[in-house]
Symmetry: C2
């Protein structure tokens, strides 16, 4: 009768509604009553289908995150196979990791955009169970990409690269939070929804990330004891 994908209509309506509301109000500020109201379901449905609010959150992240990271790994596989024994070019690794995310953030109808913005904010979420869940969910893909980067950038100290990777994640996080947050910087709301703007954002972020990744290494700061002062007045 029903599609196999459509296990439970209520279940996915709850997930969709929760995704939208979590991104709009945050995890804590979104109540189960708000979610079930928007999903046109009973309050008890959440605990029936998922067990608890925490479990709902984890399931919500899982269904998108596994797909996202599978895409990333597949892309990396492709690149490594094509490169043979040679290291993959850093730019291509960056595009594999961040490009998939940006492309997902471009999907406005399917909710991918909502999710990416939610995920970006959640990265710095203080709740312990979220932290642990994300760390576990990311473990494999991060290990693979780190290894690829190490191989591609033998001249960059590993610790230095880890920080730069961290910075890149921050830049991407703000990139996908996009139009809402940028009004703090620019007065005009930018239209992220159109395809053209998405392509522009992709190009902009990539330029910025590669520029940062390939920037000259800082002077080794272990030597100097005092804070770096202005060089010229």
């Amino acid at each position: 009768m029903a599609d196999i994908t459509e296990i439970s209509d209520t279940r996915s309506r709850i997930l969709d509604a929760a995704e939208r509301l979590f991104m709009e109000h945050g995890l804590e500020a979104t109540t189960l009553r708000m979610i079930t109201a928007e999903a046109q379901a009973n309050i008890a449905a959440v605990n029936y289908h998922f067990g608890s609010k925490e479990a709902l959150i984890e399931e919500l992240f899982r269904r998108r995150l596994t797909w996202l990271n599978e895409q990333r790994l597949a892309e990396l596989d492709r690149l490594e196979k094509a490169a043979g024994d040679e290291p993959v070019k850093p730019r291509l690794i960056v595009e594999a990791f961040f490009g998939v995310a940006i492309r997902m953030a471009a999907d406005t109808e399917g909710g991918g955009r909502n999710f990416m913005r939610l995920l970006s904010r959640t990265y710095t979420e203080p709740a312990a169970f979220v932290k642990n869940f994300l760390a576990e969910e990311y473990a494999e893909v991060l290990a693979r990409f780190k290894a690829a980067f190490f191989k591609a950038l033998p001249d960059v100290p590993k610790e230095e690269f880890l920080w730069r990777f961290h910075f890149m994640l921050g830049a991407m996080s703000y990139a996908v939070s996009g139009a809402d947050a940028i009004k703090v910087v620019g007065e005009d709301k930018l239209d992220l929804d159109s395809d053209r703007e998405t392509d522009a954002l992709y190009a902009r972020l990539m330029s910025f990330l590669i520029g940062g990744l390939r920037a000259p290494l800082p002077e080794t700061p272990a030597k100097q004891a005092k804070k770096p002062q202005k060089k010229a007045a």
Copy 2:
């Protein structure tokens, strides 16, 4: 008797406790009872001294943010005076804006570090009153720095720069959230508390930011891929 600065002991104890707890658990998840318990004050003290939880939050951000932005403006004044009619070099503007923040984040004893990490997370906070408050609080300093950047980077389209500024904020945000978040990327917890590590972080972030800011402009994506129209670099 008491210092003039020490208007009310309870008042500042509450602010300090709130700052620490907000950063540890987030704005929503931190309750007034948690705050007053840590501050060894009565629950009613918050509403007596501040009026409401929202007012407490605003006051908490105000007391540090005004100082932070005053420092930034003073630094920019100094740079512009020294440069005369010439535009200030981009690197110096970046250091003025982000350097102050990183230095504040290095202050572990005075709570500056806690605050900067809290501020970084709050940037993408969905709560409307926080958004409006931050936008207002940042308006002047952002206008001044944007103008300085525009003058210093006449060849970079304004919209392009605004995005790069946005990306830079994201990188800094993740930089100061630091050791807790980086464990997602690197397995080793980095020691951000020592002076040496702070200097290293400063140098690392600056290299990355300048690298991203001065990266080659992306090929103009406004036109479709049909015509790879060359930009006037």
